[in-house]
Amino acid sequence: MIELMSGAAPSLHAQVRDLYETPDTTLNLSLIAGKEGLENEITSPRIQKLGLALAGYVDYVHKGRVQFIGGTEINYLRRLSDQELREAIQRVFSRSLCCILITRGLQPPLILLDAADRNRVPILRTPVLSSVAITQVTGFLEEKLAPRTSIHGVLMDVFNLGVLLFGVSGIGKSECALDLILRGHRLVSDDMVVIRKLGVDRLVGTGPPDFQFHMELRGLGILNLKELFGVSVLSRAKTIDLAIHMVRWKSDEEYDRLGVDESYQHFLDVPVPLVTMPVAPGRHLATLVEVAVRIQLLKNQGYSPSREFVRQLDQLLQKP
């Protein structure tokens, strides 16, 4: 396994405020109670529906999950007597909650709003249906809570394949990226790549949020790529489909000559196909990266050029 400079993974959490204020959903959330709890932490992308808890079974109410109240819950509460309603709400708030989300623009009983204010549990309301809201909240939180790491490298989109170039400082990653840009490929990030794991095995890389499209080239200083080359050579995020480790050529080192063995580099426990690329004068890296991508594209379609060569050779050798 190759040692990578990787940033410590920050603890994964989101505040209720992040969900309330995000422009990334179309939930049109309004805050109808408990605004003092906006700093409460959401720790899981999975939501819960509050139905069973309102009916008395509160054991599995998770503090770090968004609690949904939809039509079923509201109709249930309407059927209760004042006394039963008070008890139901008391039982629910006996557990700590981060926040409650009411769907379909429904009007909750006032006693619920009072309890939320007292317990500093924000109540958010959206006009959309529960099913839509669940998808959007889960999507937003999965993104926000995704395991992440950062590595020193360059992420490019080459022929629509996400290519992560990494290797020691000064090996020529940025120069290679510049060549690839001039050939019409797109840059996602130079120098620092933030990698997030979405779902089980999808890695997505982006740049640092503030200075994503900048590059430092020795002798030229810091460049703004958007100004120099335009928006069409840049891409905000890209999946990571191929890793290229750039290493200094050593004459006594053994490099892959056949290309029939597969190796992988793990990021956040997800394996990514790895190519180790020795760097030496006369080896034009951008060209080599482009070819490595073409090979990977063929492999993704189930065809390996070098294996095919070996297969043909074996046939030849076995002829009587």
Binding site: R257, L258, V310, Q318, K319
Partner: protein
């Protein structure tokens, strides 16, 4: 310059991984190393993997090895040893 003839003895012949071993050993020496099928004039560079592969030397093929340089003796000894040892393969 020295010269040796050696016969490929392993069942699979000079296949891809065997060729990789051949080239790895040849590259450890400073001498020029040339390889040809016996009685052929097509000579290839013993440090070129593609060249070795294109020999397509099946079992029973005789190869003519030539080395030229300071460590020519050691180079041919190592390569002949590899071939006679069936590239470390069972059969």
């Amino acid at each position: 310059m020295i010269e040796r003839t050696v016969r490929i003895q392993n069942e699979l012949g000079l296949h891809a991984r065997a060729a990789a071993k051949f080239v790895r050993i040849a590259s450890q020496f400073e001498s020029d190393i040339k390889v040809a099928r016996l009685n052929s004039h097509e000579e290839i560079d013993g440090k070129s993997i593609l060249g070795i592969l294109l020999l397509a030397a099946a079992r029973g093929t005789d190869l003519n090895l030539r080395a030229n340089g300071r460590d020519e003796e050691a180079a041919l000894e190592a390569i002949v040893g590899l071939i006679q040892n069936k590239f470390g393969e069972q059969k």
